[in-house]
Structures are given as C-alpha cells and as structure tokens.
Amino acid sequence: MKRRNFVQYAGLGTGALLMPSLLMGREIPQEALLHPGMDNAVKKRLADVALNTAKSLGATYADARIGRYLNQYVFTREDKVQNVVNTESFGIGIRVIANGTWGFSSTNSVTEDGIKKATEQAVAIAKANSGIQKEPVVLAPVQTHGEVSWKTPITKDFREVPVSDKVDLLLSANAAAMENGASFVNSALFMVNEQKYFASTDGNYIDQDVHRIWPTFGVTAIDRQAGKFKSRQAMSAPMGMGFEYMDGLDSEKLEGPAGIKLYRNSYDIVEDAVLAAQQAQQMLTAKSVEAGKYDLVLEPNHLGLTIHESVGHPLELDRVLGYEANYAGTSFATLDKWKSGDFKYGSDIVNLVADKTQPGSLGAVGYDDEGVKTKKWDLVRNGILTNYQAIRDQVHMIDQNESHGCCYAQSWDDVQFQRMPNVSLEPGTEKYGIADMIRDVEKGIYIAGRGSYSIDQQRYNFQFGGTVFYEIRNGEVVGMLDDVAYQSNTQEFWNSCVKICDESDYRLFGSFFDGKGQPSQISAVSHGSSTSRFNDVNVINTGRTI
C-alpha cells in the first residue's frame, strides 16, 4: 500500500508510475549532480581489493560494481511546484561464486576496509548456502575487453540544465492544459544518470555513463453534474536520451488519425498538453463501445506495452526455467516449443528482435552488468520462436555458449540478474502508412497510448486498455470511443497480425519502472514498432455503475 500511496502523492494516478522508494537515494543539491565523482584509477584499485579478497577466500569468480546513481525528479500540479528531488547513491556491490554457489553483499563504505568486509560477507553467504545448492553455477565464457568505456550519446546533459528551466517547461504545459479546459493537471520529469564501474576476475574493467529521461503528465477533465471524470496521460515515451528529447522538433512529429500528434525522438510537451485537455473533455461524452470482435489498429506507444508483456516477459529464460515462479511467474513459451523449431508465435510477417544497442532506447549500454558486450539477436523470425533472453549462468541450459548480454542490477546494492533487453517488432518492408491502414479497415478501433494492462503468470491471457480510442468504420475514423479493453491470448493475438506499417512510422515505447525479482528491482526498457493491425480481436465494454 505504501508504494501506491506514493503514486497518489505524486498525483499521476494509479498505474501511471511505480517509483520504489529505494531509488530515491540520498538527496543532494543540483550542483552536486555535476560533481565528477571518484576517479577511475581509484575505482580500479578498490575493485581489485574486492576481487583479490574474494580469490584469497576461495571464490572461483568475483565481480565488483562501483556505482554512482544520480536522479533528478520534478513534480508539479497546475501552477504549483510540488517537489524537486535530487538524489545520489554511491556504493559497491560484490558478487562471488564459492563452492559453486552465488553470494552477494554490498556496502556504501567504499574504502579498502569496507570492501574487504563486504567481500568476506559475500563469500560467507555463498558458503552458508552451498549446503542446499543442487545445481552448481556454470558461467559461459566472456571476452576479455580490458579497460574500456561507453556513454549514452546525448547532446544535452540534464544535469547542466537549470532546474528553473525544467520547472518553467512543466508549468507551461500545465498552463496550456488548463487554458484548454483541463480541470486538473499533474506533470513530472524523471531524469537518471547511472555512472557504473564494473570489474571482474575475467580481467574486465568497464566504465559506463548512462542517461535516461521521462517527461509525463496526467490531465483530468471533470463533469461534476454528470459525476464523471476522465484522464488523458502524456503521449511521450521514456527514452535513453539527454534533455534534447524535450526540444519538440517538428522533424520528429507525426500526424495520426483524428488530429492526433505523435512523437519520435523529440517531444513537444506543451503541444501534447493542449491536445490532452481537449481529448479529456471529449472522453466525457465519448460513445461507450459495443462489445464484440474488431480489427485493432495499434499505435506504437500502445503496442509497445503489449510487446513488453506478451513477448518480452515470456521469453526471459529465467522465467521459462522457473527461477521467477514465486513472483512474476513462469512462461507458456517452454523449452519444448522452442526446440521444436516450428512454434508459430505469430503470423509470417511477425519478426521480433532483442537489442541492447539501439540508439535512443532505454536498454542501450555498451556492456551488461557482468561485462558482456551487448548485441542484437532474433527472438521470433517469420513468426517462429527462435531464441530467448539469457545471461552467463543460464545459456548452457539452452545449449548455447555465449551470454546474450542482458544482465542488470538497479543499483550497486542489488544483485544483478537477467533483465529484458529492448524487444521490438520490425517494421513492414513495403511502403504502407497509417492512413493506408485505416483506409483498409471496415470495422475496427484505433488505439493510441498506454492504458490499463494485465496478463497472467504464464503470459497466455491478457487484457489491455489504452489512452485514446477511435472507432473505424469503412475506412474512416468516425469518432471517439470509451470503455474499451481487449482480451486475447498471446499466440492467437500475434497470429492475427495481418499488416505492419513501414519504417517511417517506427517509434519507441518505453517502460521506465519495470519490476521483477525478489527483492523487487526495476529496470528501464524500450520497445519499437510501427502501427500494426490485428484482426478479429475480442473487445469488452468496461463501463459499470456503482
């Protein structure tokens, strides 16, 4: 309940975000964000203390992650700044294998003495648990890179942009919404910088500087007499970019049906707020959908969440193998289906790729959190299931000898484990735009933006809502709909995919706070796609009276 309360206090509405308190770190002044932090030569010397201590205690493998995590969050509502939060978290996490068993410990005492003690504890935990260990850890080999570095390619570092500029931008968006008929508006900016130094007994010393940003808002329109309220969330996507994402470049804007504005690699928050206020009012009187079968035309900022839930999660190998059985669940995409070589995950035009290198995406890094160089690989090719997402201690279980490079920990004090890479739907190869797609639909619904989403623990049955819904009749958008949700089964749904727009429509959706594991950790991941059509999907009416 405490997390939900935070969501309430942040005022963005249930489901808009999930921000674990542990990510808050310790609060610092804005100028401290620009402090360069510990020198790499010192980090290398301290990391070696962990590696050498672990080896001297009998560990067969060790890695150390010295992390400095900087966050800046700005929250506003209407004409008020609710909070500006700057946080810093700095420490070291040490992971070892002793007696064939993992052990992990962390400390914010980043000194020789503090690191030695934490390493001793990690080895002690590994040895204490080895008595009940039945499957000794097997690590796939990793390339030795030596001393290397990687940085998110940004052009505007959020840390150098004055807080007043950020506040002004959000307040302008709020004012634009209020002038256009909003009853309430909450807006927020989340900005993250991870400075990660990784060292392992494989001889890798990797320095990375990762940036992410998420602008978002919720606009509410109220008809008090009718006792109705409706909210429209932002059409932004969280991105692996700097503050340049907020430039609102015309060259990155796309026109959708019914006057909808869509954004690629640059977001115009004020323009979106105006449209949000207008659409929120339209929702108050929108026609309630008639339940039944419809052809769905799904916009990338909506379809991304469907990909995340119905492709990204079920193809995580740790879920398939049962490591997540007690929390997120297992997967319908079992090893026998993959081994058969002919499991039809989707129709022939469905190609789903995993990618840890895509520029602008939330998942892009040079190396993962166990020192593996990142790459791109197929998950589903021509509709057939071809691979999973796996890390060093898992790939031998699918007869592979190279990690996919998707290991991640949310902070220095959490143990790294397999996390979802960017998983994206490849665009169609023939020239075909959103207008062409609408024109070809007789009875359908166009859905844009993320909404309510729920899926079972093996990822068969799902129900998704959206931000805005428009009815399509005989090739034309005829008006807004309300109370829409679609229910389907993952395999059935992806096999009903009949058309995908070309790459001119391709955009990224993002999940900034994706949760997994016990204790739960968050990670950020993007999903790219072009607008796609799915035939004969079951739509339910969610309207009720209480």
């Binding site: 309360n5 002044p29 935990i125 648990n129 009940i132 039945k134 997540e324 729920s454 049955n461 009720r544």
Partner: protein, 438 residues
C-alpha cells in the same frame, strides 16, 4: 550497522537541530539491517544482506523548503547537511501548500519490535529454504520461495519541539509450489513482526497440498459466480480501495468518493451493512508504528462502519482548507470477520469457486474502482458443500465496491501483508475469460 536506541537517536537529532538557522527545521533518522534468501528449482538461487542508515534534513524559510541527506553523523557532517538543506531552501520556489512543522505530540506505545526477528542468521534463512525444498522434492513438486527479514528504527525531531522514535522488526515469506508435470500450482504467504510465530514447514505444506490438488484443472464457462475469497485474494482489492480514501481527490471530483454536489461520500452507505473496516497501529496481530513520517500520531480510526463511510484521509493542508482535523492515511487495515472457518464456508456453498489469490491486478476505471486481474495458484470448483475439482484460472473484471455489496458471509480473520482480513463469500463475482496459465 547500528540500530540506534531512542536515547542515541535523540542525541544525534538534537545535535543536528542545534545547527539550524532556518525558520523551521525537521529531521528524520532511519536505519535498517535486512537479509534474504531466494530459492527456485528446489535449490537456492540468490541471497543477500544490506544495511542502510540515513539522516534527512528539511529546512524552511517562509514557504520555501530544501532537503538534504547524509549517512555520516559526526558533528561536522551534521552541520554540513543542515547548511546544505538551508542553501537549497533559499534557492527553491515557494510551495503555497507548505505547512509549519507540528508541535510536540503524544504517541501511543508501539508493539512492532521483536528480539527474535532481529536475531535471524544466514543459517536460519537456509533452514527456511530447506523446510520448503525437502518436502517438495519428496512429493514430485518444485519449490520457489523467498524469505526476507529486517530490523529497523526511525526517529524524527523538529524545531517546534516534536520528537518521535520507533523500532520495528518484520519478516515476509512466500513460496510457490509447482508439480513437476507442470499442471498444478499452489502458493502460501506469511508475514509477522515476531518470527517465532512463523512455521516454514507448515506453511510450505499448505502450498504443496494446493499444488497437488490443483493438477489437471478443468475449464468451466466464465460468468458470474459465488466465490469464496481467501484473505490473500481480497486483500489486494481492498488495499486498492483503501488507497482511494483521499478526501482531497474526492472533493476535487476525481475519485469514486466524489458526489455531484461537489462534496464526498462521508456519511453515506456504500457497501453491505456487515462491512466494518478500521485501522489500528496497536492491534497485537498487525502492529505498526504509532506515528507516520510527518510526525502525525496514528490512532485507531474507523473508515467504514456498518457499510457507512466514517472517515476519509485529510492531509494537513486539505484539512486546513476544509476546516476539519487532519486524518492521516492508515498504516494497516482490519476488517471485521465472522466465526465461519474456510471449511464452514465451503460446506455452506451449493455452487461456487474457491480462490486462493488474485494476480496482476490493474485499475480499469477509477470512476467505478473497476479492476481486472486473474486467479492463480489454486482455484477450485465447489458443489454441494464440497470441493469437486480444480478449475482453470479466470480473468476477473470487478469493483471492490460491487463485491462488498454482494457479500454473502464473513469468515475468520487472517493476517496478510500487514492487514487483518476475513475469508469472504461473495455472490455474482464477475469472471470474463479463461486463462490456460498454471
């Protein structure tokens, strides 16, 4: 790291406060030690330990506030963090909703700390894991579980004379048992402040039994069914409902508690008259701290009595605007139950579904508090007072308000996730589709 006593915490906080030159200053000090073990595939997977302690200073000049934090508590560090908060306050925009810090408060005694839980060792955690794994392996079942324990303290002081302190311990345990043929799954959850109340083997047996019982589930048509909800199932829906008990969003017209006249549903009957729901930080079975992070005393508070809304949460700002006393959000939820055991509820059911838990619950429509989600880890068909067979999982679309209006019978209370919730029999619970998930 150290878990400071009340006197030690007070000494640090008073020292820090002595450096303040702001109009107002509020300082929180928190620390915790926590450990965990995680297992899956009948073997241990990851295990860890973490320690944290933090001092947070909020300084204010007029309506301008700044916050700074530190994890070292020598005099120089304490002065540095106070100066930093004051510098930040001077740079911050005014917050028109700023409230002066509270004056001295009276707090009831807390029952949240137990030595037994504070003394948990890595060896104890390993034993919890084997108490699940060994009996599972003996029955062709695979265990995946998580055990987490913590010892913590929190303290605060402010420039208006308030001081508060609390020490707490807690443990959480969940385990999922799956039959090796992949057709059955069971689950159990336990949480206590006092670990001596926890029996890992007994809890694990419940999950193993459910896994074995739920093999070869049959599909039945979705629709409206009488359901018996175990407390783990109803707790999640009720927690979602509780988090909407905000007077401000109701008064603003954006909450299911809003009324067309611009007010809220305080005093209105919204659910069956047998529904009574309150919070009580001193309840011996579900104790919490007796104050919240803002220093407000937490007291026994009635939220729904005989179906009627008795209180909504008012933060201090909104209470002042409305001319009422502030009512802090609750720290636990206690729902009145009845005498019926689970077995009694099953025996009194001619046709219905027994639900172990609900999963992936998401809001569909905040206007009606409509939620969707699925049953999981043990769903059974009941006929003529007996469990007949396991059924495939369902997706539901239901509102806790509709559910509590369709109340048939209240059963015994159980602690779940820090709350005390009864078994409930509900008629006309809405299942909208089937899931193949086990």
């Amino acid at each position: 790291m150290a878990i400071y006593t009340k006197d030690e915490a007070r000494t640090i906080l008073e020292k820090a406060l002595s450096f303040s030159k702001a109009d107002a200053c509020e300082i929180n000090l928190n620390g915790s030690n926590s450990g965990n073990i995680r297992y899956a595939r009948n073997t241990v997977s990851t295990s860890g330990h973490s320690s944290n302690q933090t001092l947070v200073v909020q300084s204010s000049f007029g309506k301008k506030s700044g916050t700074a934090t530190i994890d070292e508590f020598d005099d120089a560090s304490l002065e540095k963090v106070v100066r930093r908060a004051e510098e930040l306050a001077q740079l911050s925009p005014e917050n028109p909703e700023f409230m002066e810090p509270l004056g001295p408060q009276e707090y009831a005694d807390s029952r949240t700390y137990r030595e037994s839980t504070a003394n948990i060792t890595p060896e104890y955690r390993a034993k919890v894991a084997s108490s699940s794994i060994d009996p599972a392996a003996a029955q062709d079942v695979t265990a995946a579980g998580f055990f987490n324990d913590s010892e913590s303290f929190s303290a605060m002081i402010n420039s208006n004379g308030l001081f508060a302190y609390n020490q707490a311990t807690g443990m959480d345990f969940t385990v999922t048992m799956r039959t090796n043929d992949g057709t059955g799954s069971g689950w159990v959850s336990r949480d206590y402040n006092d670990v001596t109340k926890f029996d890992a083997a007994a809890a694990s047996k419940i999950a193993i039994d459910k896994a074995v019982m739920s093999r070869e589930a049959r599909a039945i048509e979705p629709g409206k069914y009488t359901v018996i909800l175990e407390p783990a199932a109803s707790n999640d829906l009720l927690s979602n409902m509780f988090s909407s008990f905000s007077a401000r969003s109701a008064d603003e017209g954006r909450n299911f508690m809003s009324t067309p006249d611009g007010g809220n549903k305080l005093g209105q009957k919204i659910v069956d008259e047998r529904v009574t729901l309150w919070s009580d930080p001193q309840h011996p079975d579900v104790p919490t701290a007796t104050w919240n992070g803002a220093g407000q005393p937490l007291k026994k508070t009635m939220w729904i009595e005989n179906g009627v809304v008795k209180n909504l949460a008012y933060d201090r700002y909104w209470a002042e605007q409305k001319g009422v006393e502030p009512v802090p959000f609750p720290s636990n939820a206690i729902m009145a139950g009845g005498d019926a055991s689970l077995q009694d509820l099953i025996e009194s059911t001619s046709k219905g579904i027994l639900v172990t838990r609900l999963w992936y619950i998401r809001s569909v429509d905040p206007q009606t508090l409509l939620y969707t989600g699925l049953t999981r880890d043990g769903t059974f068909y009941i006929e003529n007072g007996k469990i007949k067979h396991p059924v495939k999982n369902f997706r539901f679309n239901e509102s806790p308000i509709i559910m509590l209006n369709n109340l048939e019978t209240l059963g015994q209370q159980v602690r779940i996730d820090g709350n005390l919730i009864p078994y409930m029999k509900i008629r006309d619970f809405t299942f909208t589709s089937l899931s193949d998930a086990v």
